[in-house]
Amino acid sequence: MSAPTIVEIDGREVRLTNLDKVLYPSGFTKAEVIDYHVRVAPVAVQHLAGRCITFRRFPNGTDQDSFFEKRCNAHRPEWVPVALGPGDRRGGIEYCRVEDTATMAWAANLAALELHAPMALAADLDTPRILVFDYDPGPKTSIVECCQVAIATQAVLDAVGLRGWCKTSGSKGLQMYVPLNAAHGGPTHQGAADFALAVGQVLERQLDGKVTTVMAKVERPGKIFVDWGQNALHKTTIAPYSLRARDRPTVSTPVTWDEVDDCAGGRAPLVFEAGDVLQRIEQHGDLFADVLVVEQELPSPRT
């Protein structure tokens, strides 16, 4: 009903509409989503930049229908850049690239609450920059068990000299990012997925009955599903600092290993909402900054 508000961000005009629309059952409005996007942009965009971003849009709020938007909106402003990414049988898709505050505000205005990013950069789609372990808690488990499995994963990775960084999924789970950032060469998506599966299978044996690497839902009650398949070319994972579509504006939040330890011991549930995340950034800076720069190599498979 209200007229659009046109704001200027870094010299770009962004059209904002329905600012007072409530997007979360908790009462969090679109204005607050835009506000969060604008404030978190200084640290969030570096994790999105250069990647083919999939928007998950909730035009009528998180308790209503949503849709994934891979193809960058045809009505995008001309300053929103696109990149060719994995497509369907008919060929590649032009995805949005999210590289500045104005684009973050524009995405927020589309109610693109969730920003999903692939592990590879658009410039080299075949080479993942990151290997991801996605810990998905099955029924009767929670992020507490996810944190326990993440700690066990890091112990396995220690043996081959790899470091991982954790973030909450912002939903129920946890993800560990193992930066690769190969200057040249680097593993393929298949190589990364194979390695993640191998580590997952080690964990299955070590933590008997607590972990599964099998996708089937029936396998999951009481277990943490280590989703190694997230390393595939066409897969995306919720981006660091992205909001999630829950009752409340929770965020996929980078956490410290101390916090993971506390979570594993049942002392910290690791739930962070938009306002908390902004405060954390003030205090800690970008806990995921290293994920963008640390170069690591996967061990070559034994022959």
Partner: protein, 358 residues
């Protein structure tokens, strides 16, 4: 004195009323001339051949219609002659309709009609139309172009508007953005609120209230410069700029959302958790709130960089699973205790609703 743009007769039935046409609206935009800054001489256009760059004389210039990209059909003025509307010098009124039957988008240019020679037939027609409340629809030709016109009478005078042709009017269905309206759902309460807002802003239409402020300011500037006055201060900005600062735009909405939550005790937690850093400025002015946003962004970036350096200094792999000292964790523990209820609620509700990324 205003000069007529056309003269002829209104004809309907057997009646012919001589009239003159005057513009009812005079456009007032500021027009500038292009000059060479070196000697302030006027810039002149030359017609040149786009391929050779050579100047083309009038005799070589013909009319071409582009039927396909780069393909032209040349049309000779003689060939157009037979289709030229005959300058009949009459406005033929064909029918009379009610004014509100005409969608205002059809109205194009407005003219005053004045009687020519004998005023009586004009006065009679004007009075008849005014008392019946009807508008005369007719056709006329002016400068080789045929127009449809609507003549209405008010206060004993006649005013004519040229009308757009039906096939010139754009169908709203062709505007993709309008389709979104079909999906909009509004509650009766919302409609009521909107209506009361409209009612509270309702007023009589006073066109004098609205000015082209840009033109007035530019003309003031030009007048001052012409008078040799030194211009030092920039012309004051218009009161409601179209483009506004992002933080200023959001401030009110964010504050309203928070306030509405804090009125509902059950939702208080949300307000607390979503509170954003504030420098205590209150953010009354857009300029200062913009600065705040910029500063906090810079601060965050600086801190991020510092953290990065710090992390780089730390020994690489962290011994996982090793328990940390309890003292170090007090801060984390405190915040976890605070948020425990929220988390439980979130986990209970739509536990399986949000699936991981596709």
């Amino acid at each position: 004195m205003a000069r007529p743009v056309w003269s002829g007769t209104i004809s309907f039935g057997l009646v012919a009323i001589p009239v003159k046409l005057f513009h009812a609206v005079r456009k007032k935009s500021v027009s500038f001339n292009q000059l060479d800054e070196r000697n302030l001489a006027r810039i002149r256009y030359r017609k040149v051949n786009a391929e050779t760059g050579e100047e083309v004389t009038e005799g070589h210039i013909v009319k071409g219609y582009e039927v396909a990209k780069g393909r032209y059909v040349v049309v000779d003025p003689d060939e157009l002659e037979p289709f030229m509307p005959v300058a009949t010098k009459t406005i033929d009124l064909e029918e009379f309709v009610d004014l509100d039957e005409i969608d205002p988008v059809y109205f194009d240019t407005a003219y005053h009609l004045a009687p020519d020679a004998n005023a009586k037939p004009y006065a009679l027609l004007a009075r008849a139309m005014e008392s019946s409340g009807k508008v005369g629809i007719g056709r006329f030709v002016m400068r080789n172009k045929q127009y449809t016109a609507a003549i209405r009478a008010e206060e004993g005078r006649m005013v004519m508007s040229s009308l757009a042709y039906a096939d010139e009017v754009i169908d709203p269905a062709d505007i993709e953005e309008l389709a979104a309206l079909d999906e909009v759902e509004v509650s009766d309460k919302e409609v009521l609120m909107a209506e009361s807002l409209v009612a509270s802003l309702s007023a009589g239409f006073e066109p004098e209230k609205y000015h082209d402020e840009y033109r007035e300011q530019v003309m003031t500037l030009i007048q001052m410069k012409a008078d040799g006055e030194e211009i030092t201060a920039p012309i004051e900005e218009s009161e409601a700029p179209k483009v506004i600062d992002i933080m200023a735009a959001l401030e009110a909405s964010v504050a309203a959302a928070k306030a509405s939550r804090s009125h509902h005790p059950a939702k208080k937690a949300a307000a607390r958790l979503t509170s954003v850093p504030d420098d205590g400025d209150g953010g009354a002015t857009p300029v200062s709130s913009k600065k705040v946003a910029k500063m906090s962004a810079k601060k965050a970036a600086k801190k991020a960089a510092a953290k990065q350096r710090e992390a780089a200094r730390k020994p690489a792999a962290k011994k996982s699973g090793a328990q940390k000292s309890a003292a170090k964790k007090s801060a984390v523990k405190k915040s976890s205790a605070k948020k425990a209820p929220a988390k439980k609620r979130a986990a209970k509700k739509k536990a399986a609703a949000v699936k991981k990324s596709a």
